[in-house]
C-alpha cells in the first residue's frame, strides 16, 4: 500500500492506494501555521483500520519551504560572493547581508586571482558581529573549480567554529552564478526549519508503526528520501503543481501531449506534458521574485478558480481574483464560476436554488437573464484558460536553441488532450477542450490526482559532468564532486564516468535500482584548438533518472 499526501494552500489531500486503486481518500483544511499537524491528521484519517506494516511507501508534497521563503521567516543568513570580473554586484539586491570578496575563477576553472585571507576574516568578523550563524559562500565558476569557496569556508570556520557554511558548488553547479547564489542562500535560510520538520515527521511515522521512512516530492516531479532532502530543502518548493502533473501522468500513462489543468479555489495551475514527458521551466523556479537553480515544471498560475468571486463592473462580468469562500451552491456567500456551471447543468454540482439566487443578484445589476450571465461567466473562464494554454505552447516553441539542427527541426507538437485535475475540473474541461480542439480527459480520481501523483512518483536524480582533458580535470554540478581524468579520454569514457557517479549517488540515496533506468540527456564535446592543432577536449555529459512512476505502479484500475 502507498500513501500520498499533498499539502495545498487551502486543503491537504491524501490517498491510500493499493494495486492501482484508491482505497481511501481524505481532504482537510490546511493549517499554514502547523503543517506537521495537518499532515498527520490526514495520515491518521487515511490509515484508520489499516495494518501500518502493510504501508510500503509514504510520499509528502509540502509547502513548508515555499511558505518560509515567501513570508521571510527563514533564518538570518549572510551571503559571501566571490564574483571576479563581470557584472557589478553593487546594483544587485540579492540579500540583506551580502559581502563581496576578492578572488576569481574563469570558465575553464583556472584561478585567476586568489582569496585574500585578511579580507575574508574581516567579513567573518562582521557576520559574527551581526549575530548571524548561517553563511552561504558562492563563487563564479565554482562548479569548475571550488577551491576558492572551500578556502573561504576554512578561513571562516577557523575563527568562528559555530558558523554553518554552505558552498555554492555543493548546492548547484549549473551555469548561472546569480541563480546559484540565490539557491545557496535559500538553502542556508531554510535548512534548520526543514531539518526539524523532517525529524518530527520521521518520529511520527515510527510512532504509527510505519517503518518505510518517507519520501518528499520535489519541484521536478520526482521524489527524494527525507534524509537526503535535508541537504536540498529548496528542491521541495512548488511541489504542488508537480504533484498535479504527475497525477495527470499517472492517470494516463501514455506518450501523448496534454495540458494539465488543475482548477483550484482561487487559482488554476496549467502544466504541459509533451509526448509523455512533463515540460520543465527553462529558467528554473522563481522563488520570492528571484530565479533559482531548482528544476521545476513549467507551470503557469492563472488567478482564477472555481470559487473566485463573480461581479458586474457596470459594463462586463469580472471574475476574481479574490475568493470569499466556497461556491454559493455549497453554502458560500457569493456567486462563483462553479455556480454558473451548476446553473447551466441543472444542479449537477450542488444546490441549484443557491446558485440561482447568488447569480441573480449579479444578473440583476447587469440587466441580463440569469442563464445569459452564467454563460458569459463560463465563457470568460474558458477564454482565459485557452489564452494561457496557447501562450505556454508559444513560449515553449520560442525557447532559444543553440544548434543548427534544433532551429531547422523546429519543435512543433499538437495538443491531444486537456486533463482535468481537482474537484472543479468537470465543470470547465469539456468546454475548454472543445475550444482547444482536443479531447477532454476527466477521471474518477481527478479530484485526488495530486495526492495520487505524489504517492506514485518515482525518485529523480540528474547530474551533469564537465570534463576538460587539457586540464585533466572533471567536476559534477552537484555536491561539489571533482576529480582528475586522463588527457586522452573520449566521449564514451566520460559517459561511463557520469553513469558511475549517478549510480554511486543513487546508491547513497537508497534509490540504486532506479539508476538502471537512467538516460543521457546531454552530450556535448568540443575540441580545444590552439594554433592549428587539438590540445584537448571539453565534454559536458548529463545523465538523469527522469520523472516517472515507481515500478510497482502499473496504472489506475
Amino acid at each position: 500500500m502507498l500513501v500520498g499526501i499533498d499539502v495545498g494552500g487551502t486543503f491537504t489531500d491524501g490517498v491510500l492506494l493499493a494495486e492501482g486503486e484508491v482505497i481511501n481518500s481524505v481532504k482537510q483544511p490546511t493549517d499554514e501555521e502547523n503543517l506537521k499537524e495537518s499532515i498527520l491528521a490526514v495520515l491518521d484519517e487515511l490509515i484508520k483500520g489499516t495494518d501500518p506494516t502493510r504501508i510500503k511507501r509514504v510520499v509528502l508534497s509540502t509547502t513548508l519551504v515555499t511558505n518560509l521563503l515567501a513570508t521571510g521567516k527563514g533564518e538570518r543568513t549572510a551571503l559571501v560572493l566571490i564574483p571576479g570580473p563581470g557584472l557589478n554586484l553593487q546594483h544587485l539586491d540579492l540579500a540583506p547581508n551580502s559581502y563581496t570578496v576578492e578572488g576569481a575563477v574563469d570558465f575553464r576553472g583556472r584561478v585567476i586571482s586568489s582569496i585574500k585571507r585578511t579580507q575574508v576574516a574581516e567579513v567573518g568578523k562582521d557576520i559574527a558581529g551581526h549575530g548571524i550563524r548561517k553563511v552561504a559562500v558562492v563563487g563564479k565558476f565554482s562548479q569548475r573549480n571550488n577551491s576558492l569557496e572551500a578556502e573561504a569556508r576554512e578561513i571562516l570556520m577557523e575563527q568562528y567554529p559555530h558558523f554553518e557554511v554552505f558552498l555554492g558548488s555543493e548546492v548547484s553547479g549549473q551555469l548561472n552564478f546569480l541563480r546559484r547564489a540565490v539557491t545557496t542562500y535559500y538553502t542556508a535560510m531554510t535548512r534548520s526549519t526543514w531539518d526539524r520538520f523532517a525529524r518530527e515527521i520521521q518520529e511520527a511515522l515510527v510512532q504509527r508503526g510505519i517503518g518505510t521512512g518517507c519520501d518528499i516530492l520535489k519541484a521536478d516531479g520526482g521524489t527524494m528520501p527525507l534524509e537526503v532532502s535535508v541537504k536540498y530543502p529548496c528542491e521541495t518548493v512548488f511541489s504542488g503543481p508537480a504533484a498535479s502533473a504527475m497525477g495527470a501522468y499517472a492517470l494516463t500513462m501514455d506518450k501523448r501531449t496534454s495540458v494539465v489543468v488543475d482548477i483550484g479555489g482561487t487559482t488554476s495551475d496549467l502544466a504541459l506534458i509533451l509526448e509523455g514527458k512533463p515540460l520543465y521551466a527553462s529558467k528554473g523556479a522563481v522563488i520570492d521574485g528571484k530565479y533559482t537553480h531548482v528544476r521545476a515544471f513549467a507551470v503557469r498560475s492563472v488567478a482564477l478558480g472555481g470559487d473566485s468571486t463573480v461581479r458586474w463592473n457596470g459594463s462586463e462580468v469580472v471574475i476574481g481574483p479574490d475568493r470569499e469562500g466556497v461556491a454559493a451552491c455549497f453554502g458560500g456567500p457569493r456567486a462563483t464560476p462553479t455556480d454558473a456551471f451548476n446553473l447551466l447543468e441543472g444542479g449537477k454540482l450542488g444546490r441549484l436554488d443557491l446558485s440561482q439566487a447568488a447569480l441573480e443578484r449579479v444578473a440583476g445589476e447587469a440587466r441580463l437573464p440569469v442563464e445569459e450571465l452564467a454563460r458569459q461567466v463560463v465563457e470568460k473562464v474558458v477564454e482565459l484558460l485557452e489564452t494561457n494554454v496557447k501562450d505556454m505552447f508559444k513560449s515553449w516553441e520560442q525557447e532559444p536553441a543553440y544548434r543548427v539542427w534544433e532551429i531547422v527541426n523546429r519543435r512543433k507538437v499538437s495538443l491531444d488532450r486537456a486533463i482535468g485535475i481537482g474537484a472543479a475540473a468537470e465543470a470547465f474541461i469539456p468546454t475548454l477542450a472543445r475550444r482547444l480542439g482536443c479531447e477532454a480527459f476527466i477521471h474518477r480520481y481527478s479530484p485526488v490526482a495530486n495526492a495520487l501523483g505524489a504517492g506514485v512518483a518515482r525518485p529523480t536524480l540528474s547530474i551533469v559532468l564537465h570534463a576538460d582533458t587539457q586540464r585533466q580535470t572533471y567536476s559534477l554540478d552537484i555536491g561539489g564532486v571533482s576529480g582528475t581524468i586522463g588527457s586522452r579520454v573520449q566521449l564514451e569514457d566520460v559517459k561511463k564516468l557520469a553513469r558511475e557517479h549517478l549510480e554511486q549517488l543513487a546508491n547513497d540515496r537508497g534509490i540504486g535500482h532506479y539508476a538502471r533506468q537512467s538516460e543521457f540527456f546531454l552530450e556535448e564535446q568540443f575540441n580545444v584548438i590552439r594554433g592549428w592543432s587539438t590540445v584537448g577536449k571539453l565534454f559536458d555529459v548529463g545523465i538523469q533518472i527522469a520523472p516517472g512512476v515507481i515500478d510497482e505502479f502499473k496504472g489506475v484500475k
Binding site: 515555499t66 515567501a70 564574483p83 570580473p85 563581470g86 557584472l87 557589478n88 554586484l89 553593487q90 546594483h91 544587485l92 539586491d93 540579492l94 576569481a104 574563469d106 570558465f107 575553464r108 585567476i112 586571482s113 563564479k140 565558476f141 551555469l175 548561472n176 552564478f177 546569480l178 541563480r179 529558467k283 522563481v286 522563488i287 520570492d288 521574485g289 528571484k290 530565479y291 498560475s301 520560442q398 525557447e399 532559444p400 536553441a401 543553440y402 544548434r403 543548427v404 539542427w405 532551429i407 531547422v408 556535448e524 568540443f526 575540441n527 580545444v528 584548438i529 594554433g531 592549428w532 592543432s533 587539438t534 571539453l538
Partner: protein
C-alpha cells in the same frame, strides 16, 4: 509569492519606450568550416559559459530571442549566388542571417530599444557576387538584414560602422553605389592584414562618393586611438548623415589577444565604443581569440547596449595602463580623420565632379580573390550615371575555381531608389538577354529591388527561377 517577476536589478530607464536589449545568441555548436579552422564549434563556447554564468540573460534589461531561418529571397535581395543560393550556403548560414532578421523585427515592432545578433557564421567579406567563401564568409548578414528592413519597414537611410579588425570589403562592395547607406570601416592597415584593402581613397562609387569611409589603423593601435577615431570622425559624420538606424558590424579581432591580427583593443574599449556609438543593432563578425577575448568582449558589448554598468568587466590579464598610444600612431590617425572629414563634407561636390567626368556609363574593372575557396574572379562593372537615381548597374563576372571549374555570369541590379527609367531599362535588358542568350554566360540575373523580384536564368537549360 510576492511577485512573479525577478526584481533584483534596479533599472534606470524611463517609462514609455521599450527598455530592453534584444539578443539572439546562436553559437552554432554543430557547424565549422573545418575541424581546426578558426571558424569552428568552439568559437563561442566560452562566450556561452561567460554569458550564462554571469546570469545576464536573467536581468530585466535583456530579452533573449530564438533565431529563425532566413528565406532564400532574403539572400537574393543582396547577393548573386553562383551557381545557386543553395550551393553557397548551409543551414547554419540561414540561421545566422535569420538571427539578425529576428533582432531587426524585434526592434521595429518596438519590443526592444536595441539588439545584438551574437551569431556565427560571419559574413562581412561576402560581396554582391558570391562564387564561394572569402575570409570565412559566404553570405553577408548585415546587408541581408538591412535590405529586409528597407523592404519590410521602409527604412531609407542607414549607417554601418564596421569595427572588425579586417576591412569589411564585402559590405563595402554591396553598398559601393548606394548614397543612402553610409559605410564606415576601421581596421588594421590593409598593407599588413587580410583582405589588403580599405584605404582612405576608397570612398564609394561615382554617384555615392563620400558615403564609404575607410580608416586603416596602424598595427598596435590601442583603446585610445580607436576611441579617438570614434569621437573625432565617426560620431560627427553620423551626426551630419542623420541615419534612421545605426548598425555595428561587431568584429572582435581588434582585441590585444587575437591570433590573426596585431591590435591592442580591450573588452573595456569595446564596451565604451558601443556605449558612445549606441548602435541600434550589432551583429557579430570576426574575432578568434576564443578564450581570452570573446567571452569578455561579447559581455562588454551586451552590457554597454543594455546600459548595464561595465566597470567591473576586464580580462584576467588586463592592466589599465598596459598599452600606451604612441605619438606616431596618433599623428597618423589625426591625418586620416582630417582627410576623411573633408571627403565626407564635400561629398556632393565630389559626385557633381564625377558626373562631369563620366558620360552615360561609368566602368570599373576588378579582380577578387577568394582565400578560403581559392577562386579567382574578374569583374567588369557598368553603372548608369543616372541624373534621377543612384543608377542601375551590371556586372560581368568570370570565376575560375581551383578545381578548374569556370563560371561566367551576367548580373543586373536595380537599386531600391531606382527611377522608373532605370527600372524599365534594366528589366528590358534582362528580357533581351534571356530571349537571345549570349552563350558565354552560364547564368543571367536580375535583381529588381523596386518590385522586390529576383530572377535567375540558366542559359544552358533555358530555365528561369523567380524569387
Amino acid at each position: 509569492m510576492k511577485r512573479s517577476e525577478p526584481r533584483f536589478w534596479q533599472s534606470r530607464e524611463k517609462a514609455g519606450k521599450p527598455t530592453q536589449t534584444g539578443i539572439v545568441f546562436f553559437p552554432a555548436f554543430d557547424w565549422a568550416i573545418s575541424p581546426t579552422h578558426p571558424e569552428r564549434e568552439e568559437r563561442l563556447l566560452y562566450t556561452r559559459d561567460q554569458l550564462f554564468e554571469e546570469g545576464i540573460m536573467d536581468l530585466p534589461q535583456i530579452r533573449e530571442y530564438q533565431p529563425r531561418l532566413a528565406e532564400l529571397k532574403d539572400i537574393a535581395r543582396v547577393h548573386f549566388c553562383v551557381p545557386s543560393i543553395e550551393a553557397q550556403i548551409t543551414e547554419a548560414h540561414l540561421v545566422a542571417a535569420g538571427g539578425a532578421l529576428v533582432i531587426a523585427d524585434a526592434l521595429m515592432n518596438g519590443e526592444v530599444r536595441n539588439g545584438f545578433a551574437l551569431v556565427r557564421p560571419p559574413g562581412h567579406h561576402s560581396m554582391r557576387v558570391t562564387h564561394g567563401n572569402r575570409g570565412f564568409c559566404n553570405i553577408n548578414n548585415e546587408p541581408i538584414m538591412i535590405e529586409y528592413l528597407r523592404k519590410k519597414y521602409g527604412i531609407k537611410r542607414i549607417a554601418i560602422v564596421d569595427t572588425d579588425v579586417h576591412h569589411g570589403d564585402g559590405t563595402q562592395d554591396i553598398y559601393w553605389h548606394d548614397p543612402d547607406v553610409l559605410f564606415i570601416s576601421f581596421h588594421q592597415d590593409g598593407r599588413t592584414l587580410y583582405p589588403g584593402s580599405g584605404f582612405t581613397d576608397e570612398i564609394g562609387g561615382p554617384l555615392a562618393l563620400g558615403t564609404t569611409l575607410n580608416v586603416p589603423l596602424p598595427p598596435g593601435t590601442t583603446d585610445t586611438g580607436i576611441n579617438f577615431v570614434l569621437e573625432e570622425l565617426v560620431l560627427p559624420v553620423l551626426e551630419k548623415f542623420q541615419p534612421e538606424l545605426v548598425v555595428n558590424s561587431a568584429g572582435q579581432d581588434n582585441h590585444y589577444t587575437d591570433p590573426l591580427a596585431n591590435m591592442r583593443f580591450s573588452a573595456r574599449g569595446y564596451a565604451v565604443l558601443n556605449e558612445r556609438l549606441a548602435p541600434d543593432i550589432a551583429v557579430l563578425e570576426g574575432g578568434y581569440s576564443v578564450e581570452t577575448a570573446l567571452p569578455y568582449v561579447n559581455l562588454g558589448i551586451l552590457m554597454a547596449m543594455a546600459g548595464i554598468d561595465y566597470s567591473n568587466l576586464y580580462e584576467p590579464d588586463y592592466q589599465a595602463d598596459k598599452f600606451r598610444e604612441s605619438s606616431d600612431r596618433m599623428r597618423v590617425l589625426e591625418r586620416i580623420v582630417r582627410e576623411l572629414t573633408t571627403v565626407f563634407d564635400n561629398r556632393e561636390a565630389l559626385v557633381a565632379a564625377a558626373r562631369e567626368k563620366h558620360d552615360q556609363f561609368a566602368r570599373r574593372y576588378r579582380r577578387i580573390f577568394y582565400d578560403t575557396d581559392y577562386i579567382h574572379e574578374e569583374q567588369q562593372e557598368n553603372l548608369r550615371m543616372c541624373p534621377d537615381c543612384p543608377g542601375y548597374w551590371t556586372i560581368d563576372s568570370q570565376a575560375l575555381h581551383q578545381v578548374g571549374e569556370r563560371y561566367q555570369v551576367y548580373c543586373i541590379s536595380v537599386p531600391v531608389q531606382g527611377c522608373p527609367r532605370c527600372h524599365k531599362d534594366a528589366v528590358e535588358l534582362y528580357e533581351k538577354m534571356i530571349a537571345a542568350p549570349d552563350r558565354r554566360f552560364d547564368f543571367v540575373y536580375l535583381q529588381d529591388r523596386v518590385d522586390d523580384v529576383y530572377r535567375q536564368f540558366d542559359v544552358t537549360r533555358k530555365q528561369e527561377r523567380v524569387l
